[in-house]
Each structure stands twice: as structure tokens, then as C-alpha cells.
Amino acid sequence: MKAIIILFATAMVVLFTGISGKRTWLLPLSVLGLLAAFASLVVDAQIPVISYGGMVRFDGFGLAYSGLTVVAATLIFVLSGYFYRGLKDTLADHYGLLLFSMTGALCMFSFEHMVMLFLGIEILSIPLYVMAGSRMDDLRSSEAALKYFLMGAFATGILLFGITLVYGATGAFEITQIQQALDVKKVYSMPLFNTGLLLIIVGLSFKVSAAPFHFWSPDVYEGSPTLVTAFMATVVKTAGFGAFYKLFVMGFGPETPYWSMTIAVLAALTMTVGNLSALRQKSMKRMMAYSSISHAGYLMMGLLSGAAGSKGLFLYLVAYVMATIAVFSVFMLVNKDDDIAGGHFSAFSGIGKSNPVAAFILALSMLSLAGIPITAGFFGKFFLFTGAFTNFPWLVGVAVINSAISIYYYFRVIVEMYFNEVADPEKFVIPNTYRLVMLLAALTLIGLAFVPEQVLALVP
């Protein structure tokens, strides 16, 4: 709760500072606020507490996932200084909206009552609908905003209907009470309850862009400003899976087989569709969009391994978030003007020679996303796959085949960077802030191999 209040206060301070015209203060203030929120998460106790009239539940799970999103947001904010170099008056609004969005994400990790989940999703999404369209003069940005908005609102409607049906079947909105109701009243076999679950799965699948509800995400990812895309690919995805996990594993019980098969099938479909579509892309951002779809597929496996799944899920998210931030930070430098035409793979040609450091970081992130040992991505995949192996060996098989397919498109970036001879590749400047973020990401991607136990221990 402290972290949510700190973030909200920071957002308000940032907005007022923006009114008073102190542009250079905005970024340090926001980062300071995020760091303070992180610090408050670190000092919080991990013992589960349900408080405020049964609305919120704070536990180690929520703290760890909140911490991850706050770190990701901090890194994205650090990147934003250079990215928003052209903004003057509206900068405070941009920062304020992103910070509001963060409070929504934190609500999604700490909800107990469905209304908090619902509000969290909306607070996360509504600022992002605007942010997706924040390149005002660009029709494609506006289009991204419209698509994101319509799909988000549609998904919310479906999710709400699901929540309502579950309420009708169990008589409760609180996940702990829902679980009790499941134990006592045995409503598992009620069609009402199962239809509700199905609709909730569909609604959340829209949010995390799982197939077959993923079709909006490539357009939205491509049309949004790259910084916002990075935010969506990391914070929103993490928040979506945090909510997914809380709702299904903690709420609807780890032992129920009623929904796990549905999720397993969706996971298999998602990773396959994401990977096969990514193969055909020519634009980096679209490729990353489809890659994030396929990662959603892998991540869904984390929902199938019971209570222990949160550990594997967390490790995978750490690896995925760090690699994604590193990829987008390089991409923002390569595609300086942030136009769609500059987002083609060929923009990376030859940067292995002109900017070896950036190229190395990008290559490392690609290896990690592909899950090549000994990067963090491999460990994430390993623990996710191991967790799901006992109950869904066929799904692990599908995931393994998909991992092999995904190498093809991740390596295309590496091939462009290192093996395509370009006569005189343009050397771009790397601001120090970008160096810092890249370094941190790279350290995580390599370092995770040596401390997986410690990272796993962050989640109870």
C-alpha cells in the first residue's frame, strides 16, 4: 500500500512541477519516486496480510512482482530522458500518466477483492490508451490508441461478465472466500462457475495478448511510441500474469483440473501462433510483438505447475523483462526518430562494427529471449518447463519445439548486426543513461545464471 501511495504522490508532484514549468526536475523526481516505492517494497514484511475490509492482500508474491515492475518502470523512465528530448509542455503529463499506470499495476499484484483487480486493470490501461496515441500528429499512433482502447474495453466487458458469473456461483468477490466456497459448496461442476472461469480466462488472455485474442497487439506495439511499447511489453505483461496467477492459482485453487486444460491448450496455441507469425515479420517492433505473444504462451505454463509455479514465472519474467528493455533501448537508439519506416531489420545492419557494445547487448538479449544457455532466459524457460513437466508433458514438448523455431527470427537480428557487410554503417551516439540501462540489463541476463536460487527465493 505504501508503494501505491508513494507512486500516486509522485505522479501528483510531477504534474504540479510540470505546471510550474521546471522541466528538468521531472525525470529526477519520477525516478526518485520509483526508487522510494521500491525501497518501501523491500522493507515491507512478506507475511500475508489481508486488510482494508478484505480489499487487498499484501504478501511476498505481491512484493516480489511489484518490485520487478517498479524496477522495469525505473529503467524505462531512465531511458525516457533521451527519448522525450523533444517534448516540452506535455512531458509532465506523460510522466504522470506512466506513474498512474504503475499504481494500477501494483493494485493488480495486491488485490484480494475482484473490484481491486478490476480497478487495477483499468488504472493500468487507461493511461496507456492515451500514451499509445501520444504522438499526436501521427495517424498510426492514433490508430494504435484506438485499437488498444477498443480491445481493452471489450476485454474488460468479458472479464466483468466472468467475474459476475463467478460471483453468482460462489457468492463472493474475495479470492480467499471464493476458494472457501469452492471447498465447501463444491461449485466446481456448476456450469455457471465454469462459464465464468472461461470468460475470465478470455478477458485476461486479451490483456496478456494470448492467442487467439492476440490480434490487436502487433498493430498496437508497432504504432505506439517505442518507449510506450517497451512499457506495454514489460510492465503490462508482468501485471497481467501477476493477476492471472493470483486469480487462478491462489483463487480458483491449485488442485482444480477444470481450467488447467483450457490454459494448457491456449498456451500451446499462443506460443505456436506467436512464433510462426514472428518468422514472417520484417519490422523489428512487429517481431517483438509476436515474440511477446509467444512468451505469453511460455508464461502461461507457469500457471499450470501449482503454487510453486510463481517462482518459475517470476524468474522467467525477470529474464524476459530485462531482455526486452535492453532490446528496446538499442532499438530507440538505432531508430532515433521513432518512425515506422526506420524500424525495419535492416536498420541494424553493420552495427556490430560501428557500435560493438550496443550490438553485444542486443545479441545477448536475443540469445536470452531465445533461451540459449547460459543466459537468464534459459533458466527462466528451464524452471517453467520443469514445473509444467509432470502434469503436461505434451505442452513441454510443444514449448521445446517452439523454442527451437524461435531461434530463427531472434538470430536474424544477430545476423543483420554482425554478418551483413555494410560499407559504412552509421555510428550512433549512446547517451550515458542508455549505457547504464544496457549494462544493468546485461548484468542481469548473465548474472542470473549464478544466483538463480537467490532470485527464486524472492518469491515465497
Binding site: P373, A404, F411, V415, E453
Partner: protein, 486 residues
């Protein structure tokens, strides 16, 4: 006893990082010194090693909750493989230096990184760790081939990578399956080799476990029909890459069969042993027949290697004393021979600018010393008695014969084929009329002659006096047979 192997493991990594950070001359010096020191350490280890024992080198917890540990151990065959790796790298590094490669220090650094990963593969005693090193070895060789390779390298190297990576993933699935049936020391599952060995895999799963392992190793070795990546990759990779691939890397596959697949998945073996054997022997004949028709020297040696390796794999699959003993010894010998052959090809290509048999001829007249050394290496490759190749192949055929006379006969044919194509190469390249490409070729330089004579000396010495190798492997093979129930 345990510090020496750790030094051997760690030194190449340290040197590799140092080489990446330095440039030109200094990088060369560092790399050669590092490789030389590693070789000295390895020989010391070999001389002091008690061949009958299995020495636990290191055992540290890594992810204790999942039963994963930094666990390394060595037995006789393990030492043999270390010897192979660290013996060949000092031959490969000068070749890298002679290529005048762009960003040479990076190339040297990658080779040393590869050496680190290979040593790790041969020492790993934990299934998870083994997999990590196994994949780690793939990344440097991918970059070596894709950056310094020839035409079409992007497509071919990517194919190579995806092929081998997919195979490895299936192996990971197998390891995982076995892992879930293990009981470690504290009741949890464990990836430790001993635990994996003791796992009770249900009979209906055992064949799948075996096939998963087989997928990874068959691609790496490669065994027919999983070999399609191999000739292209060997041809397109720079010579150092080819040497690493053929000399050492495919031994990872063979060693994997020996250390992991056969003991751990022994339950599934009776069902598939014949299939594996037939595939291996088909590969032996196929490689030899295709080699006869080749015009490109590098491609020819690639196919001949396919043929030889098939025989080694067959020896392992047979799993009797002669077969396994022969396979282990032949792994080292084949490494030496094939690196020698690729060295010769590399020299010819550098001097004449071509690898086409038709464009070559008459080299013996201008380069007589080179001609002699080439002949010795060639004879080793054909497996003529008193060369190193003979010892292993004799044992392998013997082992195969004990199992199935027809298979042995078929495989034996390959020796005749080998003689045919190898002598044809020698005749075309060294004798006959001088061609345009070969007219101005002079005697090989001093360094080339020195390295080639070292290889030739190894061919002869190990041919006449193979006993030290058997000393290293004999006890381990005995134990292995007891485990696999050969």
C-alpha cells in the same frame, strides 16, 4: 588432484577474456601461451592420473532446491577427451593466426571460449551442467563460422545452429524425464550423474528417453540421416571452424553416447540398438561413397569424416569391450587425423587458391617435404597398420564382427573405399602435371612443416605404441560394461 582439472577448466576462460580485450600481437601471444600451458597441465594430469578411479573434481551447490550442482568429475576416458581437446587447440590456433582474419583477437578469443566449453562438457558430472556446457560450446562455433565463413554462411550456419539446438532440446527433455524419477540424497530430485543412473524410469518411457538423447547426439556426431547440416557447414566454415567441429566437437556427441546416453538410458537400448547400428553403418558407407565422387577437397574430407565417425558410433552402440575400447581410442586418433587432413587442405587452399581436385596437380615436385608429411597423415586416415588409425579401426571392426558379421563386413568395405578416395586425392593433388594454380607453389614454410610433422609424429607414435591410451581407458571400460550390461 582436484586443483589440476579445475585449472585446466578455468585457464582457457581467463585467457579467452584476456584475448578479447587485447589486440593483434599480444592477443596471439596470450592465446598461444594459454593453450600451451593448458596442454602442459593436461599432460601432467594424464601422467599422474590413476586410470582406475573416478575423481570428483568439484561439487558445489548451484540451485539446491532443484538438485542442480556445479559438479565435475573425471575418469580415464574423461582425461582422454581433455587430452584430445587441449592437444588439438594448440594446432588450431596457429591456423587461425595464418588466416589474416579481420578482428583476429576475437577469433582467438572465441576458440579459447570453445576450449573452455569443451573441457566443461567432458568434465561435467551433473546432467544440467552438462547441458549448459553442451550448448555453450555451440555459440562460439556458430559465431566463428558465421563471421569468418565463406559464401552463403548466414543461411548454412543458421541451419546448423537450429539443427543442433533442436536436437539438444530433445536431450534436455530426456534428462528432465529421468530427473523426475531420481531420488537424491535428501529425498529431492537430482541431476547428479549417479542419481540419474539410479533413477527408475518406467519401462514405457525408457525408449523415449533413449531417443531424446539419440536426437541430440546423432545430430552432433552426425549419424545418417541427421548429417545434412554437416558437409555444408564444414565447407563454409573457416578451416579453424572445421577443425574444431570435426576434430573435437563431434566427439562431444560420441562422448555423450558413452557417458550419458548408453548408461542412463540402457533400459531402452535392446529395442533400438539394431536400428542405431544400421544407421551408423549406412552412414559409414554413404560417407565413403559420396567422398569418392567429390571434387572439393574440404567437402571430401568432410564426407570421409562422416564415414569414420559412423564407425566409431557403431562401436559404441555395439557396446562390447572391443567396440567401446576401440571407439574411445579412435576418438583421439580421429581427432588428430582429421585436424591433420584439414591442415593440409588449408595449406593447399592458401597456396593455390583452390580446393578443386581438377585444378590441382604436381605439388609433390615443388614441395617434397610437405608431400611426405601429407602421405603419413593420409595413411593414418586410411588406417594402415602401424599408424594410429589402424589400432582403433581394427578394434572397432572386431567389436562389430562379434555382434554381427554382415555389419562388420559392410563397415569393413569402408576401409577399402577410404583407401580408394584418399589415394585418389593424393595422386590428383601431388602427382601429375602442374596446373595453372599449382605452378608457382613452393615448399611449405617452417611453421607449417613443424606443425605437420608434429601431427605426423603423433600418427606414427600412437600407431606403434598405443598402450598408454589403453591404460587410460581399460578399467573404465570394464566398469562401463558392467553398468550397461553390454
Amino acid at each position: 588432484m582436484t586443483t589440476l582439472p579445475l585449472l585446466i577448466l578455468g585457464l582457457p576462460l581467463v585467457v579467452s577474456v584476456a584475448v578479447f580485450l587485447t589486440k593483434a600481437k599480444l592477443a596471439r601471444l596470450l592465446a598461444l601461451l594459454g593453450a600451451g600451458l593448458t596442454l602442459v597441465l593436461t599432460v601432467t594430469l594424464w601422467l599422474t592420473f590413476n586410470a582406475g578411479s573416478t575423481v570428483q573434481v568439484l561439487s558445489l551447490p548451484w540451485v539446491p532446491a532443484a538438485g542442480i550442482g556445479f559438479s565435475f568429475a573425471l575418469d580415464g576416458p574423461g582425461v582422454l577427451m581433455l587430452l584430445l581437446t587441449n592437444l588439438l587447440i594448440p594446432f588450431i590456433l596457429p591456423v587461425a593466426c595464418s588466416q589474416n582474419a579481420d578482428k583476429e583477437s576475437n577469433l582467438l578469443g572465441l576458440i579459447l571460449a570453445m576450449q573452455f566449453a569443451l573441457n566443461g562438457v567432458f568434465m561435467a558430472w551433473d546432467g544440467f551442467l552438462f547441458y549448459i556446457f553442451w550448448e555453450l560450446a555451440l555459440i562460439p562455433i556458430y559465431f566463428i563460422a558465421a563471421i569468418w565463413g565463406g559464401e552463403n554462411r548466414q543461411r548454412i550456419t543458421l541451419k546448423f545452429f537450429i539443427y543442433t539446438f533442436s536436437g539438444s532440446l530433445l536431450m534436455l527433455l530426456s534428462i528432465l524425464t529421468v530427473y523426475f524419477f531420481t531420488q537424491g540424497t535428501d529425498g529431492k530430485h537430482s541431476f547428479d550423474w549417479v542419481a540419474l543412473m539410479a533413477a527408475n524410469v518406467p519401462p514405457h518411457l525408457a525408449p523415449w528417453v533413449l531417443l531424446g538423447f539419440f536426437a541430440a547426439f546423432a545430430v552432433k556426431i552426425p549419424i545418417f540421416p541427421f548429417h545434412t547440416w554437416q558437409p555444408d557447414t564444414y565447407t563454409v566454415a573457416p578451416t579453424v571452424g572445421t577443425m574444431l567441429l570435426a576434430g573435437i566437437m563431434l566427439k562431444m556427441g560420441l562422448f555423450g553416447v558413452y557417458r550419458w546416453m548408453m548408461p542412463i538410458a540402457a533400459e531402452g537400448l535392446p529395442l533400438y540398438r539394431d536400428l542405431f547400428l544400421y544407421l551408423a553403418v549406412i552412414g559409414v558407407l554413404y560417407g565413403a561413397v559420396i567422398a569418392i565422387q567429390q571434387d572439393d577437397l574440404k567437402r571430401l574430407v568432410a564426407y570421409s569424416s562422416l564415414s569414420h565417425v559412423g564407425l566409431i558410433a557403431a562401436g559404441l552402440f555395439v557396446g562390447n569391450e572391443f567396440g567401446v575400447q576401440g571407439a574411445l581410442v579412435q576418438m583421439l586418433n580421429h581427432g588428430i587425423n582429421v585436424v591433420g587432413m584439414f591442415y593440409v587442405v588449408h595449406w593447399i587452399e592458401r597456396r593455390t587458391g583452390t580446393r578443386s581436385l581438377e585444378a590441382l596437380g604436381g605439388l609433390a615436385a615443388n614441395a617434397p617435404q610437405f608431400a611426405v608429411l601429407f602421405m603419413i597423415i593420409l595413411l593414418g586416415s586410411i588406417a594402415v597398420p602401424l599408424t594410429n588409425g589402424f589400432v582403433g579401426e581394427f578394434l572397432l571392426l572386431n567389436g562389430l564382427f562379434q555382434y554381427n558379421g554382415w555389419l562388420a563386413t559392410a563397415a569393413g568395405l569402408s576401409i577399402i573405399f577410404g583407401a580408394v578416395y584418399m589415394l585418389r586425392v593424393y595422386q590428383k593433388v601431388m602427382y601429375g602435371n602442374l596446373k595453372a594454380a599449382t605452378a608457382n607453389v613452393e615448399e611449405a614454410g617452417r611453421l607449417d612443416l613443424m606443425l605437420l610433422s608434429l601431427i605426423a609424429a603423433l600418427v606414427l607414435v600412437l600407431g606403434v605404441f598405443p598402450q598408454p591410451l589403453f591404460n587410460l581407458t581399460a578399467d573404465a571400460v570394464g566398469k562401463w560394461l558392467a553398468l550397461v550390461g553390454g
